[in-house]
Symmetry: C2
Subunit: 342 residues, 2 copies
């Protein structure tokens, strides 16, 4: 701090960054609500559900690790099991990031697979991978009791969604539902399984993550298997490919980022295992108001920190804001995740 | 093409990239609809509304140009005029990209402004900049007749929005409205004016663009003034800052991308002026169905290519898809923009 703060008066007519140094008093921000959550509201993520993906070092020599959390049952478990099988067979070691399409996805896999420009042979897959058929995309059944038990509910008309009758949070994941089936949604940082035209062509060997506005039209059309919980910036900041769909052309082969290894965290020595936890989404209820309506102040709806956080995301009353939105879409309420024990 | 295509049968149980080489027959994709639009459906963007921002060359020596389209009346015109004033005063020359926050914004401005870690002095602003007060954020009045005339309308219950009573497209821009006022929305690639806590602190000297999921809670809270129409990848792929809010710390000062110049396209020699056009959004009507409903087939709603494109974004029936979504949010229907005369 080598310079004194500029007074608010002096700022008038000046350009100002979004960051500001003098924070007026006001309602807590969503992040402030999360920071005050009770320790028991944080739920540990099992080491069996975490993958550590090590990319080749950056140009400046710095290490690049990406940590992926796999989805729990009942979601996408056939593909999730394939991914553990592929990781344990070390199949992912020495593949690469082959596609970076702006405002869409980063995709990694075998650069020689299904690539008509490549001279190399595709890498054989390990035995034992499951073939998932079309029904696996659309029938990820949850019980109505689960929705009632776990979902952060909201009154009709609020948290409207263009892609499904309802959206909600269940055990730390953003979901959509028709009240019979439920399915994960394509928010920023979610990880899915690349496939070809036929729905049963996605094994888990080709994976992608979302690096732009939620492409929700992919929900139930491509399998979501997890999300990036650390190191997203190592993928989202990669140079975009200029080939069709953002694939790196053969002339750009040097841009492909090598993946050195992918390991299930449970298989690492205990001292090397990353530990993460998410803010419990499962036991509270909250209301997100309809646009233009005054905010609801019913404490029964705000039993948990996550419910208060989600409500504050939808109705920003912290000092920067002029007009609270009165709502939020599910991908604009990212689930808080942090390193555990730090 | 050095390798023959793999048959669909051979693909089973194999990993497949999202791109596929053998395309089955089916309904046209949104991009195919745009490609077939009539030449007269494309509307030229005035050179006075285009800014050419030249960044320092990339590490490999390649040029980096970003083209920004400023918003037309009646939206944000005070700030838009300030931005032309700043460009014509060459004020933006030698500023830098100072902030890259993953899944949020890239921001550029004077690295010494309002930066308590910096030893340098802030760059003085040119005379004649307007000071916009709070009302300018929330009162961007359009006539009801304009909404009826220009908007792509949709039946009640479809194209639901969590942030406003309605959303629509007007003269090539994504807007939200309470049917009295209308305002631009924070979609990927939109450009806004950084400010401090007081709403009148944003002049246009600090600008940002959205590089993640639409942060719609910022609508009406920060002024939107335009969008990136070319070169977005030069901003979205920049390394993320590790300081608060993604600002580059002083230790990371070397990561700041210098901005060499920003010019109004109309001021460039004619041969150097970029020319762009957008697909007319203004004269058609279309319906986006409610989730779960069958698709509407009422040709009166699909008079224009844009209407058919938007409907196809909401109901993907091209061969890759298993389940059409039955809807789309406004930021998942990007307005087609292309170089003119190419």
């Amino acid at each position: 701090m080598t310079k004194h703060l500029i007074s608010l008066a002096a700022m008038l007519a000046l350009a100002a960054p979004l960051a500001a140094q003098e924070e007026p008093q006001g309602a807590p921000s969503p992040n402030e609500i999360v920071a005050k959550a009770d320790a028991k509201e944080w739920i540990a993520i099992p080491a069996e559900d975490l993958l550590v993906m090590t990319l080749a070092p950056a140009a400046d020599g710095s290490a690049r690790k990406v940590v992926i959390q796999l989805m729990p049952a009942p979601f996408s478990q056939g593909w999730v099991e394939n991914i553990r099988t592929l990781a344990r067979a070390k199949w992912y070691d020495s593949i690469a990031v082959n596609r970076v399409q702006d405002n869409y996805v980063v995709q990694w896999g075998d650069p020689n697979y299904d690539n008509p420009e490549s001279e190399g042979a595709a890498k054989p897959l390990p035995d034992g991978l499951k073939v998932m058929d079309e029904s696996a995309y659309v029938e990820q059944q949850v019980s109505k009791a689960d929705i009632d038990r776990y979902a952060i509910m909201h009154p009709p008309g609020s948290m409207q969604d263009n892609y499904a009758p309802t959206t909600y949070f269940d055990r730390g994941w953003p979901l959509a539902s028709d009240l019979e089936n439920a399915w994960p949604v394509h928010c920023y940082g979610m990880v899915g399984v690349g496939r070809n035209y036929s729905p049963d062509t996605g094994s888990g060997a080709e994976l992608y993550t979302v690096i732009g506005h939620a492409p929700r039209h992919l929900d139930r059309n491509i399998a979501l298997v997890g999300r990036i919980v650390e190191g997203m910036e190592h993928l989202s900041s990669l140079p975009r490919g200029t080939g069709a769909l953002g694939f790196y052309s053969e002339a750009e082969a040097g841009l492909r980022t090598p993946i050195l290894s992918v390991r299930v965290a449970a298989d690492l020595p205990e001292g090397e295992r990353p530990r993460f936890e998410y803010l419990d989404t499962g036991t509270g209820r909250f209301a997100v108001e309809k646009p233009g309506q005054a905010s609801r102040d019913d404490s029964a709806w705000f039993e948990t920190s996550f419910a208060r956080y989600a409500e504050a995301r939808a109705n920003r009353r912290d000092p920067f804001f002029i007009v609270p939105a009165g709502g939020a879409d599910i991908c604009n309420i990212p689930i808080p995740i942090r390193r555990a024990g730090e």
